[in-house]
């Protein structure tokens, strides 16, 4: 046969050549019509006028974005100053998501490393143990966390009965509780990509470093970390992005004082605020933030491949 292996293998994957479009069409239609179009409509809604108690009036308005960024006084006629309420909610969300990501990395990296360096079946079992909790309903996991860390919950009871503390340790409805909840929600997302990266890591590099008298710490920071960096970055993104828009952890664990973006948006549609254009605008801003993060990530990836 004259065909080179490359051509041959490409030919093998072309059994349904010419049917690509009809086969992919259902996914285009469903995702296009029920996700892309809705997001476009949401963008449009963010420029409409609000109707009280939800819904919109079809009149162009920048009121939603104006309300987000500027304060024009009680009657709306004062010179605009920057409105910090919503910006600080976004800032708090970024901070909370960042802290959760940091702690996930702190625990996730050693875990992923440990699992990836087990041999054969052992590593599969460890990995399975890490992934199981992810498949348990997020709501149930968050409720479990709330139950555990309540003021008179099992954690405090345990600590008090062993004399570690005398007063209940107040975690619930604090920033710490939200960080803990986010950490708990997305920890497996950190472990899995780092695990994949460590598995591909060539241990000859560690040996070379050791032969050249590098200490363990130097080997870790100068050789291993750079080599598995793509996995670490992917893990951070996978934890940070969903944390940013999380609703359950801040709502159930954070209470009213620790509002995050998710709760702010929910309030506009399900709660009492009932300002749809504002909710749409806040969602657009969140989506833009996420897209910025993902674009930076894609760029970083592309640079790494060259």
């Amino acid at each position: 046969m004259a065909a080179s292996p490359q051509q041959n293998s490409r030919a093998m994957n072309n059994n349904y050549d010419g049917f690509g479009v009809p086969l992919i069409l259902p996914s285009w239609i469903i995702i296009g019509f029920f996700l892309v179009v809705p997001v476009a409509m949401m963008l449009m809604y963010s420029f409409l006028t609000k109707e009280f108690r939800g819904g919109v009036i079809w009149e162009f308005s920048l009121a939603a974005y104006d309300q987000f960024f500027f304060d024009r006084g009680l009657f709306g006629d004062s010179p605009p100053v920057i409105e910090w309420t919503y910006i600080s909610i976004f800032w708090r969300s970024i901070w909370q998501a960042g802290v959760a990501t940091f702690f996930c990395l702190l625990i996730g990296f050693p875990t992923a490393w440990f699992i990836a360096t087990r041999t054969g079946r052992n590593s599969t079992i460890w990995l399975f143990l890490i992934t199981i909790p992810y498949w348990v309903n997020l709501l149930i996991r968050t409720i479990s966390m709330k139950f555990l860390i309540r003021d008179n919950g099992p954690l405090n009871e345990f600590l008090i009965s062993f004399g570690v503390i005398s007063e209940p340790f107040h975690i619930i409805n604090t920033n710490l509780a939200v960080q803990l909840g986010l950490f708990y929600s997305y920890l497996p997302f950190m472990v899995l990509p780092i695990y994949a990266a460590v598995e591909r890591y060539n241990f000859a590099l560690s040996e070379a470093a050791a032969d050249l008298y590098a200490s363990r710490t130097v080997t870790l920071t100068k050789v291993i970390l750079p080599a598995v960096k793509p996995g670490i970055v992917a893990g951070c993104i996978l934890v940070f992005v969903p944390s940013l828009g999380a609703f359950l952890a801040p709502d159930l664990l954070g209470g009213a004082k620790n509002f995050m973006i998710g709760s702010l948006i929910e309030e506009q549609f399900k709660g009492n605020a009932g300002n749809w254009p504002f909710g749409a605008a806040a969602s657009m801003i969140l989506l833009s933030l996420v897209l910025i993060v993902l674009t930076l990530y894609a760029r970083h990836q592309a640079r790494g491949q060259r």
Binding site: M12, L23, I31, N137, L139, P242, F247, I265, F269, S283
Partner: protein, 279 residues
């Protein structure tokens, strides 16, 4: 000597305790709730004796009809959403991996994964706005449609991974023996794909069963799925029956994932067609 050194270099002090800590953190809350679901007491704080009282309450208590209706909605939606998503994802995987080049291929890959990239709360808002704008009454059908959308990428991942592992030569041989393309697809590719398709279905099923945020936005008044019913109940404080329901749901989820995992493993072993490594 070499291997000893190798082993040594893989070892870092403190990584084992940190791994155990990680597992402890992941499991402790779940185990605590499971244990307390067997508590006989009316209060969630005081430990009484072990009993199945709250499980009895889940099935026959005052709130039983509400949770039963919610469970039926959840399960029926999950089955339909997962089935639709699995069919769509199988066709999409065939297009992406078996149909050569076509217009919009790279764009299609991004589109299939789009539901994973858009934050859930944003999808929820957009879907609600969409249904409201076109004058669609929110309810069972809107939940189902929203679930199909976000189930597609989850079904796609294991299905595509499986299809990548099956060499095209089997379908080609079938076609050389005068099978039509459709026959090759149905009689050769589909049976080989079965484990991948089943694990795609099971993952989509779990994802649908788990969803709270999107469902909460598009469900409308008067209809509940299990997560929204549980969330509503928890707003008034965690009660013992919630812990019993949570434990039941937890067992179902873990059971399904274990099943999906073992089906995948079985497929891997039973199948001689997976590409040999390094070929």
């Amino acid at each position: 000597m070499m291997s000893e050194k190798n082993l040594d270099l893989r070892y870092f002090t403190g990584f084992l305790p940190l791994t155990l800590l990680c597992l402890f953190l992941l499991y402790a809350p779940l185990i605590v709730v499971m244990v307390y679901s067997f508590n006989d007491s009316n209060s969630i704080t005081r430990w009484d004796t072990v009993s199945l009282r709250w499980y009895y309450d889940v099935f026959y208590g005052l709130e039983a009809p509400k949770f039963k209706a919610a469970a039926i909605n959840s399960i029926s939606i999950a089955i339909m959403a997962a089935t639709s998503a699995t069919i769509i994802a199988t066709l999409a995987a065939t297009a992406m991996l078996r149909a050569g080049r076509f217009k919009g291929k790279s764009f299609s890959f991004a589109l299939i994964n789009l539901p994973l990239m858009v934050p859930e709360i944003v999808t929820a808002v957009a879907t609600l706005i969409f249904f409201s704008a076109i004058g669609f009454t929110t309810g069972y059908l809107t939940i189902l449609i929203a679930h199909i959308v976000f189930c597609i990428p989850f079904a796609y991942l294991p299905i595509a991974a499986r299809m990548e592992g099956i060499e095209g030569v089997y379908e080609q041989v079938a076609q050389d023996l005068y099978a039509t393309r459709l026959q090759a697809f149905r009689l050769i590719l589909m049976p080989l794909m079965a484990p991948g398709i089943l694990s795609g279905f099971l993952l989509a099923f779990i994802i649908s069963l788990d969803d709270f945020i999107i469902t909460n936005f598009v469900k409308g008044a008067g209809i509940e799925t299990l997560p929204t019913a549980i969330f509503g109940a928890v707003k008034q404080g965690i009660k013992p029956n919630i812990m019993a329901i949570s434990t039941l749901l937890l067992v179902v989820s873990v059971g399904f994932v274990a099943l999906s995992y073992f089906v995948g493993q079985m497929g891997e072993k039973a199948n001689p067609t997976t590409k040999p490594k390094g070929d």
